[in-house]
């Protein structure tokens, strides 16, 4: 890399500013030192470290576009190893400009949601407010804490050929990216510790401390230790990783709309222990989705009555409901005038040359081929280059601009700057933009000394969007003086009250943990079963093995509903784990992923790594032979064990852990009951069937140490069903289940046991009273199968009882708004 940089094989583009090299090819100030530091490391070392960093990113599960559609794989976050370097003097200009712009936008929001002086005095066209679909009229005139509507702001900057930074977009309602910038920093400072320390790079943690302080100031009560939540649209959101990451970093709860409820104009978190008050919401949900009652009726993501709670002053929201109004390219041409009018200052930062159709349609229509068109009201739509459209589409576009001028925004085309990027062993120039973040701080804004530099994918001419496969960079802002280390974990001065709780666990989280436990266990059970069957195949022997394979297939059928033809088991078994979406292992994997993402902020980094490792083993694509599959299944079982160990050793014994383990125990008990049922359904258990049972339940060694090589039904049934010392036996699960159920939180301590407790006791007693010798006697008839049926039924009922008692009140509310009312005038009433 350094060779190519030094030897000037790095190609800049004529007519564009390059961040690293001046017009004469020499490095710009700041970059000198970075290049020298990298040179000291050597290309080989850099490569080695970078491979390691990429693995960290994968293992940490940093992703964008999760679940774009169910089948699509997560796209790992793309980070480039070369940071963007900015000098103190240059940064000072950006910092002042961004802080001022944030202040001007906040003042604009206050005006639009207040007396609308800007419109009356004709500083802005009325359509900027009244034509904006995100102008939330129900929030007009509502007072907000400190009069501040904008708390977190992001500014998308591009550098033009003249070296000036100009604003390409303002992100004002729930600006994404700060969490990614932080993650980039953590990864890169580990990969390049020497340059990072040597170059006096400013730290990011102070910014997040300010953000947390700012959130606390929004609390209408409990200012000292308010309950703050981060409201996310959920795991299907493109930037869900960041929501979970930020929540964990800021030490606040990650919640979805269904986790919150409004009662008497107060916001509460629904937990296992009941409703607990929420003081502040950091939202990542678009504002019109926040309240289906007053804002958007078709929203299923919001909190019913939230707008009312805000109006009553009972909850603080960052950014305030309605701030999406400023998330609008159409505002950009008017910001200099707004800054002058409301702040009495000249704007320090320029925007890109831009025209709003609602005001300057003639200019746009006259210059269409030279412009880039974007939707006027949000930053989400893709830009359109009219010059590249066929003539007929150009004409349609022009016509639509005449009919709906206010929906269009036109920008001048500018040549964005380039920056060196590491691409598969070469250094290449890519076009970039820089997203800078600011947080409200007293009367002004504090700007994060860093940012998210975004680079275009190769060959992608004009797009800036992550969807097009571009990447990102860490941004190093150099300091003039020594750099202070700050940590977010440093406590405030007031001593904290010690806590051991857990009942404030959101019900939805408990639900997800319960199913996470179940699916993790299911994956392990299926993997063991398939592994045992495959190893039988590999040994490739006589009738006994055939019989054992048949036994495994019967168990699979019973437990997962997968019907297999006995004559082609090899291909089928390999296929089960290596390809196709319909196999039980694949289905269990999908469920595992879904539930895991739903509680991501509750899982430790190590647990997450264990899950990611397991997921990677499960995801490997087809084309394997039986031996390869066998090796992979071994790794799957080990990964499952790692996950289980993490849950056992690294999780506090609160209700969250109980639900996780309860899920695991119920699933394991069900699986063993199913396996026994399959083996004994039509007989008394042949030796191959008994062998299969022992192998599946990982109990073969124990059996041999007790009974040597004699294999009989009764001892096997004892070991798998009634032996409370075997952690794979139903009896063991029954004891654990009973203990969990007895210790789950309950609303009132009544005299009578709960339905779940009754069922757990029944399960425990049935197993304890069972006599394996009696059940396996030749004249016992169907006694064993009947017992197994009863146990299976009890387990299903128990799962339902747990869900009903603790988890179902997470059910969302529903609207009767739209279809309930049909206005219509009586035909006979015509005048």
């Amino acid at each position: 890399m350094l060779q190519s940089l030094a030897a000037s094989r790095y190609q800049t583009e004529p007519g564009r500013w390059d961040e690293c090299h001046g017009p004469d090819g020499s490095p710009r100030p700041g970059w000198n030192e970075l290049l020298a530091q990298i040179e000291r490391l050597g290309a080989g070392e850099l490569n080695r470290r970078w491979e390691q960093s990429k693995r960290i990113i994968r293992e940490n599960g940093v992703t964008y576009n999760l679940f774009r559609d169910g089948a699509a794989a997560d796209r790992p976050w793309q980070l480039d190893p070369v940071p963007l370097v900015l000098e103190p003097a240059e940064w000072a200009r950006i910092e002042a400009g961004v802080a001022q712009r944030a202040l001007a936008i906040d003042a604009f929001l206050a005006d639009a949601y207040g007396d609308q002086r800007l419109i009356r005095e004709r500083i802005i066209p009325p359509g900027i407010v009244h034509g904006h679909p995100q102008f939330l009229r129900p929030m007009h005139g509502v007072l907000v804490p400190g009069g501040t509507r904008l708390h977190l702001y992001a500014c998308e900057l591009v550098r033009c050929p003249d070296g000036q930074w100009r604003v390409a977009a303002d992100l004002c309602q729930a600006p994404p990216g700060a969490g990614y910038a932080l993650e980039n920093r953590i990864v890169l400072s580990r990969a390049l510790p020497e340059p990072f320390r040597g170059m006096r790079v400013q730290r990011l943690a102070g910014f997040f401390m300010r953000l947390r302080q700012q959130l606390h100031t929004l609390a209408p009560r409990n200012r000292d230790n308010p309950r703050v939540v981060l409201l996310t649209p959920g795991p299907y959101s493109e930037t869900y990783f960041e929501h979970a990451y930020l929540a964990q970093y800021l030490g606040i709860s990650l919640v979805q709309g269904d986790d919150l409820a409004v009662r008497d104009e107060r916001v509460y978190l629904k937990t296992l222990g009941g409703l607990i008050p929420v003081d502040v919401i950091l939202r990542r949900l678009a504002d019109d989705y926040c309240d289906p009652l007053e804002l958007r009726n078709d929203s299923t993501l919001g909190v019913l009555g939230l707008a009312g709670a805000v109006r009553a002053g009972n909850v603080g929201i960052a950014n305030s409901l309605g701030s999406g109004l400023a998330d609008s390219p159409a505002l950009m041409p008017y910001l200099p005038a707004i800054t002058r009018c409301l702040l009495g200052q000249e704007a320090l930062l320029e925007g890109l040359p831009a025209w709003w159709g609602g005001d300057q349609a003639e200019h746009i229509l006259a210059n269409l081929p030279e412009l880039i068109l974007r939707p006027a009201w949000n930053n989400r739509g893709r830009p359109v280059l009219p010059a590249t459209l066929p003539v007929i589409e150009q004409r349609n576009l022009a016509d639509d601009i005449r009919v709906r001028p206010h929906a269009y925004m036109a920008f001048a085309r500018v040549a964005r700057s380039t920056v060196p990027c590491w691409d598969d062993g070469k250094v290449v120039a890519r076009r970039m933009s820089l997203r800078v973040f600011a947080v409200r701080d007293g009367n002004g804004f504090a700007v994060m000394p860093g940012g998210l530099a975004r680079i275009d994918a190769q060959g992608d001419g004009g797009q800036l969007w992550f969807e097009s496969g571009g990447g990102s960079k860490d941004t190093w802002i150099l300091a003039d003086g020594p750099v202070l280390d700050v940590s977010l974990l440093r406590a405030s001065d007031a001593p904290l009250e010690l806590k051991r709780g857990g009942i404030d666990l959101p019900s939805r989280v408990a639900d997800n943990l319960y199913w996470l436990g179940r699916y993790a266990e299911r994956v392990e059970a299926i993997a063991r079963l398939v592994r045992s069957a495959l190893s039988c195949l590999a040994e490739d022997a006589g009738d006994a093995d055939q019989a054992q394979i048949a036994a495994y297939l019967a168990m699979l059928d019973r437990a997962t509903g997968l019907r297999a033809a006995v004559d082609t088991p090899s291909a089928m078994l390999v296929g089960l784990i290596s390809d196709g979406a319909g196999g039980p292992l694949r289905i269990a994997r999908e469920h595992l992923r879904r539930t895991a993402f739903g509680v991501r902020d509750r899982l430790s980094a190590d647990t997450w790594r264990a899950l990611t490792a397991l997921d990677a083993e499960l995801a490997a694509e087809g084309g394997e032979d039986a031996n390869q599959s066998l090796a992979r299944l071994n790794r799957v079982v080990i990964a499952c064990a790692a996950l289980a160990g993490m849950a056992r050793e690294n999780t506090t014994r609160g209700p969250g852990w109980r639900f996780l383990d309860l899920g695991r125990r119920i699933e394991r008990a069900s699986f063993i009951v199913d396996s026994l049922h399959a083996a004994f359904a039509d007989g008394h258990g042949t030796p191959p069937e008994l062998e299969a049972l022992l192998r599946t339940a990982d109990s073969a060694i124990t059996y041999r140490s007790r009974y040597l090589t004699t294999i009989q039904a009764a001892p096997v049934v004892d070991l798998l069903l009634t032996d409370p010392t075997n952690p794979r036996a139903v009896a063991f699960q029954a004891n654990q289940i009973a203990e969990h159920v007895a210790n789950l939180p309950r609303e009132a301590v009544g005299a009578l046991p709960t339905p779940a407790e009754r069922l757990a006791t029944h399960l425990q007693a049935s197993v304890r009273l069972a006599d394996p010798c009696e059940l396996c006697k030749p004249d016992a008839g169907h006694a064993l199968v009947e017992l197994l049926d009863d146990l299976a039924g009890t387990l299903t009922a128990l799962s339902d009882a747990v869900t009903t008692a603790w988890l179902t009140h997470v059910a969302p509310s529903r609207a009767f708004a739209r279809d309930a009312w049909q206005p219509g005038d009586d035909f006979t009433g015509r005048i």
């Binding site: 359509g127 009244h130 007053e294 009767f816 206005p823 009586d826 035909f827 005048i831």
Partner: protein, 313 residues
């Protein structure tokens, strides 16, 4: 004309509702030609929280929460109102539709609010094209609008089975049929794409019994029409495309908004409830000579008995 109005909404749920949060646009708005004597909202079960406030457009709204378990929610809105005949401007003397201040750019004041796309009435070229024949350059705005009003009435079939409350405006235009809401929204969308300011009015219409029979209680219904801004002097003029007229004393205004979504009489969310069945009854009863004689015209004798009305529910 003086009216007593009763508007009864009943929700029957198949399952118990544990929590119900609602927003009502049932209280009548006072205007220059409409004086409100009284309004009462009765709700069963009695709500735990109820707030009256003005919404962004100046309409009175009631927000209420019922937190008692219930399987039936009854909302009765009763009003007494006096409506005077509106001013009738000379259509040919109004300003040109395509010049400021009527269209674009000029001093439209608060009318500008109603110039843009709204959630249920998005702009589209077909809407503009549909209106265009009645809007040649320079034509006085009200003259053009009345012609358009009459043409919608002519070309659209009144057909309650053709559309529902959620039918998109472009679909009603395509079908050329619908009810008052569709007529009004097609008209509003067309006027807005021409650059004019137009808004949605929800209200009631007094119905006339067929000759020889008496008024049927509860047979009235809610109605919807349009207001068009015709310049700073003339202001907002009501237009009823369903009946091809300028609304007069028989039109009672409830609320004004950008589209139906802003003024939906009763919208709400419930926890539980299963399936819901809703029935709505509206009764517009002219009041003759009891309190003031000034606006008394030829009253409808069959509808004057308030005793008869009371016993119906």
């Amino acid at each position: 004309m003086r009216y007593r109005i009763r508007h009864l909404t009943t929700y029957n749920y198949s399952d118990t509702v544990t929590l119900s949060q609602n927003l009502a646009h049932l209280a009548l708005r006072a205007t220059g030609s409409q004086h409100i004597f009284s309004h009462r909202l009765e709700i069963d079960p009695i709500p735990g929280v109820i707030h009256r406030r003005g919404d962004y457009f100046g309409n009175p709204t009631d927000a209420f929460t019922v937190s008692l378990p219930h399987d039936r929610l009854v909302v009765l809105s009763s009003s007494e109102v006096e409506v005077s005949p509106p001013m009738q401007p000379e259509a040919s003397a109004t300003l040109a539709w395509d010049q400021p201040p009527v269209a674009g750019g000029g001093d439209t004041g608060e009318a500008w609010e109603f110039r843009f796309d709204s959630p249920q009435i998005p702009g589209a070229r077909v809407l503009r094209d549909y209106a265009a024949p009645d809007f040649p350059p320079g034509r006085p705005v009200l003259e053009a609008a009345l012609a358009f009003n009459a043409r919608i009435n002519r070309e659209f079939a009144y057909d309650p089975s053709a559309t529902s409350v959620t039918t998109p405006v472009l679909e009603s235009l395509e079908l050329r049929r619908g009810v008052c809401q569709d007529f009004a929204q097609v008209m509003i969308g067309s006027l807005r794409t021409l650059g004019l300011c137009a808004r949605y009015v929800s209200g009631y219409l007094e119905t006339q019994p067929p000759p020889g029979s008496s008024r049927l209680i509860g047979a009235d219904a809610t109605h919807a029409w349009v207001q068009l801004w015709c310049g700073p002097q003339t202001g907002w003029i009501d237009l009823d495309p369903t009946n091809a007229c300028i609304p007069g004393e028989r039109h009672i205004l409830v609320a004004i908004g950008r589209d139906f979504g802003d003024v939906s009489p009763l919208k709400g969310m419930v926890l539980g409830g299963g399936t819901a069945e809703v029935t709505v009854g509206v009764d517009v009863e002219p009041v003759v000579g009891q309190f003031s004689g000034q606006s008394q015209q030829q009253g409808d004798p069959a509808g004057s008995s308030s005793a008869q009305q009371q016993q119906q529910r």
